[in-house]
Symmetry: C2
Subunit: 690 residues, 2 copies
């Protein structure tokens, strides 16, 4: 989906959250198979994205921003349930990662001066290729367009082949605008193979290559049939100016990572100079997508949560690796992908690290922790895999990189990236700013070693070279051991005379009396190193949307009754409070219970509308609220209420105090509803009108 230059950088720091499915060779034929079963419920109806999208809209999980002004592609507002869901995901993230491991969380600026992003490589490489319709000016992202057109042709080919088998002629697609029917066209075997080959490599083409593909396969604007321009590079950062002069160019950050790297020294000091440690940040980032699509999966503004774990390059073991080593993950390592297969292996992370499938313990530790986090949220294990980047996907400096991919109706989507970025980021910022971003470690035993060193004989060097002394000295000081030995050799060969370039590029004569080059014994008491960075990076919107798909189902008995089975820990609201009717007799109890639930920090939603109880339960199912307390006339008399569980629709009836205690335990996931049902009798009246 991206050009080659970008793909070098992309999959590590820059483009953490783009859709990854290219390594499934059949992905163009991918049709979502809702064959997965949910363990909590057997009454399943096949997944229908349209139904889900209606629920998302109706219950205001999220919706296009500025819609009354016509909206802007790729910008979304989260309504109350979406906002609460996001807050709960972030809260869990903070507890699971930051608090659990004493990570140093920071909250940094979004507006970033251009120099910072020039150093990081974003100004030059954070780009996509775009083409436009030469007649009406419509703009497309080049790789996406090629992908869509070739996919369509392959689909039509497959339909034509099926039809051939069945001896019928099939109309493959309908161009709604033109009201014309287009016939499914069968491709010859060579073309088919070429298309599949292009799609498998779609992330890796340069602009020129994309242009050639467009020409060779006569790809046009599918809407108009018009020709397309040559691909042009487009930087994905939003640009602005800081301050009134307009001279300080700024960009909206494309990731939170750079802000963390720049604070490395402060973090290290805050951490009492102890290594390893991690910084973390939650915040909004921006990418000015050429043509956003796929709802929350490709947007222009998104919330990220990123961890930068700083580690000694010589020792990437993790002190808590033992705690996770037996956790089994679905891994899709490079070698499986190379064979063109997409079935992951299930393997414990301990074994994977031992067998060097995963490069090191720290990377493995985070893969396991990411797995635990996603499962706790409600992501289904069978629809979660970790895919290793292919060597050509990785940045040149990266050691290893794995994406947590979650399957949804859009395919396998990269939702968390986890890369070993080596010392790249700290090195480039350090070089640019001359600020040392290093760790100094007192050695318990001094390090003693031999080294070829150069010592300039100032008494001769300066007076002889005069105004050229500086440029020659600068050159000499940059030489490594091997180069110094070569210089020594050259002086010997030249009988104490040779030439060297200055940093100005000119050649200068030097003599053996100018300096000594010799082997010396070096004793070091302090080791200084630039730490490596292991970076787990989470696209919160992608996780949130995937989760919604994973917990969505429709009651078999009633297609109108959609349910979102969020685990209580992340559900936007924990409990619905419904009086049987809006009879004033209930209002005291409603008020009293609301206050008590709030005091227990249980997020509630009161529904005292005049709708039927069943309708109100149903609305609540769509919000994913796991429990409901119903207040009826009996409640007023004996202070008992019923507690209904969303997925089973079963209820218990107990005294208010008991129900509150049970509910508290349920929302904190200290007991399960199954356990509650064995402990308390099921209440079987009510829900008469549901």
């Amino acid at each position: 989906m991206v050009n080659f230059i970008r793909s070098i950088v992309l999959q590590t720091s820059h483009c953490k959250f783009h859709i990854q499915n290219k390594f499934c060779p059949n992905y163009s034929l991918f049709v979502f198979q809702p064959t997965f079963k949910r363990n909590f419920c057997t009454n399943m109806v096949a997944f229908n994205r349209t139904t889900l999208e209606e629920v998302i809209k109706k219950r205001f999980f999220f919706a296009p921003s500025f819609q009354i002004y016509g909206g802007v592609a790729g910008l979304y507002d989260y309504g109350p349930p979406g906002c609460a869901l996001q807050a709960n995901i972030l809260d869990l993230w903070r507890r699971h990662f930051v608090l659990e491991e004493d990570m140093l969380e920071m909250d940094g600026s979004i507006m970033t001066p251009a120099t910072v992003l020039k150093t990081s490589g974003h100004v030059d490489k954070f780009t996509d290729w775009m083409v436009n319709d030469t007649k009406n000016g419509d703009i497309f992202r080049a790789d996406h367009l090629v992908e869509t057109v070739l996919e369509t042709r392959l689909n039509e080919d497959q339909q034509a082949r099926s039809a051939e088998l069945e001896g019928t002629i099939v109309v493959a697609s309908k161009d709604k605008k033109k009201k014309n029917k287009i016939k499914a066209v069968k491709l010859d075997e060579n073309t088919k193979a070429e298309y599949e080959n292009i799609l498998a490599k779609i992330d890796n083409f340069t602009g020129t290559e994309l242009g050639e593909i467009i020409d060779k396969y006569t790809i046009k604007n599918p809407e108009t049939g018009n020709d397309l321009s040559k691909p042009v590079e487009f930087n994905l950062m939003f640009e602005s100016n800081i301050g009134p002069t307009g001279q300080l160019k700024g960009y909206l950050r494309p990731e939170t990572a750079q802000g963390q790297f720049l604070n490395f020294k402060r973090f290290l000091e805050f951490n009492n100079d102890k290594m390893p440690f991690a910084s973390a940040s939650i915040g909004r980032s921006f990418r000015n997508e050429i043509s956003p699509r796929s709802g929350l999966l490709r947007v222009r503004e998104f919330t990220m949560a990123e961890i930068e774990h700083y580690v000694d390059p010589n020792n990437k073991d993790h002190p808590r690796f033992d705690e996770v080593k037996d956790i089994k993950l679905h891994l899709l390592p490079q070698n499986i992908q190379v064979e063109g297969k997409t079935n992951p292996i299930e393997i414990s992370i301990g074994e994977a690290v031992e067998k060097k499938i995963v490069d090191n313990q720290t990377l493995g530790y985070f893969l396991a922790r990411i797995h635990l986090f996603l499962i706790k949220l409600g992501i289904k294990n069978e629809r979660l895999r970790f895919r290793q980047h292919m060597p050509n996907e990785m940045a040149h400096y990266a050691c290893d990189c794995w994406d947590a991919e979650i399957q949804s109706s859009y395919g396998w989507i990269e939702c968390v990236g986890c890369a070993d970025r080596s010392a790249y980021d700290l090195t480039v910022h350090s070089n640019r700013t001359k600020e040392k971003l290093v760790v100094r470690e007192n050695l318990s035993e001094p390090l003693v070693y031999e080294k070829t060193v150069l010592e300039i004989n100032k008494k001769v060097f300066g007076p002889k070279l005069r105004q050229n002394a500086k440029t020659v000295e600068d050159y000499l000081l940059r030489l490594d051991e091997e180069q110094l030995e070569a210089l020594k050799k050259a002086l010997e060969v030249g009988n104490g005379k040779t030439t060297v370039p200055g940093t100005d590029g000119k050649e200068y004569e030097v003599f053996s009396e100018f300096f000594n080059i010799e082997r010396q014994t070096i004793t070091e008491y302090v080791r200084e190193y630039i730490p490596n960075v292991i970076e787990p990076s989470f696209g919160i919107g992608r996780i949130l949307y995937s989760l919604i798909e994973h917990v969505f189902w429709v009651r078999e008995d009633d297609e109108q009754r959609a349910v979102l089975s969020f685990p209580p820990l992340v559900s936007p609201f924990k409990c619905l409070l419904v009086p049987l009717s809006n009879n004033p007799a209930f209002s005291d109890l409603v008020r009293d219970l609301s206050a008590r639930l709030r005091k227990l920090s249980i997020a509630i939603k009161v529904d005292d509308s005049s709708n039927s109880i069943g309708r109100r339960y149903s609305r609540n199912d769509e919000l994913g609220t796991p429990f409901a307390i119903t207040i009826d006339f009996q409640s007023v008399n004996d202070n008992t209420v019923t507690l209904r569980e969303r997925d089973t629709t079963k209820q218990i009836r107990e005294k208010v105090d008991t129900i509150l205690q049970v509910l508290k335990n349920l929302t904190e996931e200290e007991i399960t509803w199954d356990e509650v049902m064995t402990k308390y009798p099921i209440f079987i009246q009510q829900e008469i009108d549901s």
Copy 2:
């Protein structure tokens, strides 16, 4: 501090968080008086901002962003304690406001299309005036520069006067760059009065007026002495382009409010069409300040928390007003300010609303709730006041507006604005988009009333007026009752003939047979209205900084020992865990205790560095961590640990289980340390080396 046009809008929606001190007539002579006493501690040392700033930097509460690149004025990064403090403030905000009152929280886009902000008035009016040094190009915010220069002159005048009294000559200030000493100059009485008058009105000048002041009082660039340009208007929004064509102009939102207004219809539907209700949003907003200053108090990027409470314009009572009516606030209403006084009155909000000092119950309710929130955070009541906007500060559409101002070493700073914005915002967006942003209320009894109405006689009107029919009809349909009666009269006077303007401005002859104007009885079953909006708007960074100042003090016995006495509820970390030394004997207990504390959701910080216990306690005091558990050799034997409280430095020693329970109760503020000290014996060993 701003021009006139802006000040109309500013103090309500746009410039919610600028420093407000103009209504203190002596503010130019203001010197921070640390006379306030803290109730928890008597060993006080006078407040010293430099000491505080050192602590803030050393402990990485916050620091300039991109500092290794030289930094950018007005952009700050929050380090671990600042970030945790901010998260705790926001968490409390969410519980205190959103959860407590079932507000509909949303999370909206920052990037906003220009049309939205054109409608809201920001494109035209969200501006400041700037001037530049005509020689070196230095840029200043015009009102700030005038303010600084006149303040300096008044200060020098005062010093000259004092010196005169004492019979000495005083050197008032030192121009460090020029190394010249400048004499304090006494002003004549007229000039002094004029300066004071200008400073009192500094927010309200237009650019032209600021230019006149600069000319009249020969104000120059204080650094260079060079002349200044005429004031030029500068829009404070960061501009960018959305999408690849560059044709869709966008701005970074200057507030979250507009995003909430645009979703009004969705909110109302989500709330089952019930009124009143509130939406809320927490998020980053931006203002491209001309010259940011005063640390976190005037920045280019900041976190806001805003509530938009939608209310029936005919009934601004609040159902829960009774719960707050006895709360006493420090109010500084208009009439006191008009008299030039700055001493607030202390009055219950019930009485203030009853006496119409505060316009309505809902506004009063929020003032009281804001007060409770700030006090709970740790803001000192004696340094908190609510200042009413003067009529010239308020937007033309606003009914009433109060700022919660917190006193810090920078003066009284507006930290929360609370405005009744009438129906302004919903009306302008509705007019612009033609989307009805209204509430429809079924009337329990139909509304019956008499009304003068116009009925056009289409058979005559169209044929007679022909191509002009539309423009005349449009004009007629806009007439109110009074205008209709006048038209009827005009026809009577003109014997059934008169002229009216069309919407095109031309005059047209109309005759009485064109239409009927008569009194009719109207029966309405549904009332339709645009709700009014009451908007409490919180500048989180300002509150955070003010809080840090309020809880900061230095132990009398040791000036090196600064303390931040955050209440446990908001303190960045709740508990420090310190083993007596880094003896491996302690490590099991440290690990075990860490895990148990995490499970209790108590944010901890382990300090197993080799520093002395005293040094580690002291570092912790600077982080504001209220409690510390110390593990020593006795702990390993009898499973007891000590619990130290930050402000008193007193300790108790109990079994681990007891300490954990006490700590849990303390951090949730269910018991106080005083209560703990009466229940458990004070432990008096240890802290030997502190």
